[in-house]
């Protein structure tokens, strides 16, 4: 289904023993890993690699800044589940990758980054465009490699892909000196990878799974807390079966949105700092919290001491270091959440005749409590006649996408409103910089996602701040003809920082006013596509429809109410049950 055009290309296989250059071997390894497209920017030491690429079928997308090469690769990976690949030259090329690598690390996205390095004889001599990429990216990656000889190149490349994609996914960097690209040798395909110290726990402990199932049936007020692990493990079907079998309401974190369809009756919403009242009250009041592929992030839990205080906790995660990191679970299960849910669903069904009906009455009360919370305080959806409310914009995008479009975002107010109000009826539709919160993520990740899914409607929702970090990529979008719909939620501020300054810093607005924004129509025209600015609610629907109908990229700059704040809000460090719903000045805690 992904990238039909790309997959129809012939997959070239090189025979054993063929004399080839390092650059050609690298390309052959990429082909064997199923790579059909990658994002990069050439430079001095990668010229030998780009020379080999010149007559190779793998599609290379020339971005306009290396940081965006990782973000685009992330968009590709997040939209497909495949490993995203990017490439940069030594020195500044490699250092420009760092933000993207950390982003992929925080959100557990499988990326392989190839960097060129100066000639191995020059390493350590402060040569032109030399940087200690191996050292700089050590803590920015799941693992990194420096290739020292041609002989070890194929092995390392396959190890990199394996490490990136398996276990808890993450970015892996391979640093390759120029002379390794140039060296020639006989190619031998690699059939096995042996990493004795690399531990991947997938199956989950059978006894623990059985105990978990018992606890679930015994619970009167269960709550499923599903994270990005559901998406990474492709466990959506299993999650759906699980919430239905266990008759449990579910929240999906910012990274987990779409893991359970937003339209599913058991889905409540996103929890946490800007989560819904029902989600946060449900998390606070539940007697059993079932955490699936999630890491008890501070933006979700708020004050840990009061988080789900009365609940027993089942925690399933593939990373043993996440289990018990922030909250000690009653039942820890280390494993692939897909495999664990498959087994858990079986045991639940097995035990249903014995336990299933015992808690029917308390469960019914729990569900009606949740409905009451939902009704009591749904998300705000204000409308105005004279100005476009940001929530109005998100509602319209939601209506027009019908829970089916890919939506990428930057970080900030627009991200929170999009996460609150846009439905995602499938996994891999909502693509955002969750853990790192990197501005300038929306546009390049939308490029990668559109590249991977030419069949999909892709919105890049940006703030006016983040968008201005991404402007160089308008050239890439134009040259690749990617029909991405860029929607700038323009409030003239760095909105989230402005919101905090308003609420916690006596409204002293310091360095948050973005008082110059390019004319969207002219800017888009400068790159050869359509753009428009709107500022009236009456224009909104038509303008969005026009953008969707336009057969190419579109830049829609939407002027929204500048002072609107995102609510509910849990002040940093507070309990998630203590939400603020409007412009009442809360107590500053952090």
């Amino acid at each position: 289904m992904s990238a039909d055009i790309l997959q129809s290309l012939p997959a070239k296989r090189v025979e054993t023993g063929k004399l080839m250059s390092g650059a050609e071997m690298l390309l052959e390894c990429l082909v064997r890993e199923g790579v059909d497209c990658f994002f990069g920017y050439p430079g001095g030491v990668t010229i030998p690699f780009y020379d080999a690429l010149y007559d190779h079928h793998i599609r290379h997308v020339l971005v306009r800044h290396e940081e965006n090469a990782v973000f685009a690769a992330e968009g590709f990976a997040r939209a497909t589940g495949k490993v995203g690949v990017c490439c940069a030259t030594s020195g500044p090329g490699a250092t420009n990758l760092v933000t993207g690598l950390v982003d992929a690390m925080m959100d557990s996205i499988p990326i392989v980054a190839i960097t060129g390095q100066v000639h191995s004889k020059l390493i350590g001599s402060d040569a032109f465009q030399e940087a200690d990429t191996f050292g700089i990216t050590r803590s920015a990656t799941k693992h990194n490699f420096m290739v020292k000889t041609l002989a070890e190149l194929p092995q390392i490349v396959h190890e990199a892909f394996y490490i990136a994609a398996s276990g808890r996914p993450g970015p892996v960097l391979v640093d390759i000196p120029k002379d390794v690209f140039q060296a020639r040798g006989h190619y031998t395909p690699i059939d096995t990878i042996h990493l004795p110290g690399y531990k991947v726990f997938t199956e989950g402990h059978a006894g623990q799974i059985r105990r978990a199932a018992q606890l679930i049936w015994e619970a009167e007020k269960p709550m499923v807390y599903a994270g990005g692990g559901i998406i990474a493990a492709n466990a959506s079907a299993e999650l759906k079966e699980f919430v239905e079998t266990a008759d449990a309401p579910a929240v999906c974190t910012l990274m987990g949105l779409g893991g359970l369809s937003s339209s599913h009756p058991n889905f409540i919403s996103m929890p946490g700092m800007h989560g819904s009242y029902a989600a946060n009250m449900g998390m606070t009041d539940c007697d059993l919290l079932i955490a699936l592929g999630t890491r008890f992030d501070d933006r979700v839990t708020g004050q840990l001491a009061t988080f789900a205080r009365h609940a027993r906790v089942i925690h399933v995660d593939i990373d043993p270091a996440e289990v018990g990191k922030n909250r000690t679970p009653d039942i820890p299960i280390v494993g692939d959440v897909k495999r664990v849910l498959q087994k858990l669903n079986k045991v639940l069904q097995e035990l249903e005749p014995e336990f299933g009906r015992k808690k029917a009455e308390p469960r019914r009360r729990w569900w009606s409590q949740i409905s009451a919370w939902k009704a009591e305080r749904p998300y705000d959806r204000p409308r105005a006649d004279d100005e476009i409310k940001p929530q109005h914009l998100m509602d319209e995008i939601d209506r027009l996408s019908g829970g089916q479009a890919i939506v990428t975002s930057d970080v900030g107010q627009h991200q929170m409103w999009a996460a609150q109000l846009i439905r995602f009826n499938e996994p891999r539709l909502w693509i955002n910089s969750g853990g790192l919160g990197a501005m300038g993520f929306g546009v390049p990740s939308a490029m990668g996602a559109q590249m991977a899914r030419p069949d999909k409607l892709v919105f890049a929702i940006c703030g006016d701040g983040g968008f201005q970090m991404s402007i160089p990529e308008l050239a890439t979008i134009a040259s690749q003809g990617l029909p991405v719909k860029i929607v700038v939620m323009n409030n003239g501020y760095l909105g989230m920082v402005r919101q905090w300054q308003t609420l916690f810093y006596n409204n002293r607005l310091s360095a948050v006013t973005l008082d110059c924004f390019p004319d969207a129509e002219k800017l888009a025209a400068a790159y050869g596509f359509q753009g428009r600015t709107i500022d009236k609610p009456s224009q909104l629907t038509r303008a969005l429809e026009e953008a969707i109908a336009y057969p190419g990229p579109y830049l829609l700059n939407v002027m929204v109410s500048p002072e609107e704040n995102v609510y509910p809000m849990v002040p940093a460090g507070g309990s998630i049950s203590e939400m603020v719903f409007g412009d009442v000045k809360p107590v500053a805690v952090a």
């Binding site: 096995t192 990878i193 043993p320």
Partner: protein, 176 residues
């Protein structure tokens, strides 16, 4: 109190830095560190002495175990284990105290590795606390200079190491 962490890791460039990076990234100061090849030259055994907050200790061990190059990281602080350290110590001593210094050295099973008119160079091994006492005593005889190896530790339990078996290479994911 100092914790003792024993780590079996691949003998590869950068592996040491990855392990110490887990501690450095969290602001912990490494008090002692020793590392050397094992009987399998592809592996190294590392012993680290570090003061990590009680509640974060298991997290640190888990983070080390996550490293691709680490085969096993174990907390030996409260486990049955022996820890030994080596010390090289130079003590300046005048004629009248020389015999006394040698007597004390004998109590600590220290060997004389150099002797001159100015004093002795001594070599001793033992538990780190024992060596602390040795240092204190020698200091009472005159100026000293000390080089310590840092502790090397060995668990007295046989723990099975779970190693990842080989897997086929280049199996493109078909998740989508």
């Amino acid at each position: 109190m100092l914790q003792t962490i024993s780590i079996l890791l691949e003998n590869k460039p950068g592996a040491l830095l990855r392990v110490t990076g887990v501690l450095a990234a969290r602001g912990y100061n490494i008090e002692t560190l020793t590392v050397a090849k094992t009987i399998d030259p592809e592996l190294s055994r590392m012993t680290i002495g570090v003061d990590v907050e009680e509640r974060l200790r298991s997290q640190v061990i888990k983070q080390m175990n996550k490293l691709v190059n680490v085969l096993q990281a174990t907390d030996l602080t409260d486990a049955p284990a022996v820890i030994r350290e080596m010390i090289l110590l130079r003590v300046r001593c005048e004629q009248p105290t020389r015999t006394a210094v040698l007597k004390e050295a004998e109590i600590f099973h220290a060997r004389v590795v150099d002797s001159s008119t100015e004093g002795f160079a001594l070599e001793a091994t033992g538990e780190p606390e024992k060596l602390d006492e040795f240092v204190d005593i020698m200091r009472s005889y005159g100026d000293i200079e000390v080089t310590r190896s840092g502790g090397v530790a060995m668990s007295l339990e046989t723990k099975k190491i779970r190693l990842q078996p080989p897997v086929p290479a280049a199996v493109p994911q078909t998740t989508f």
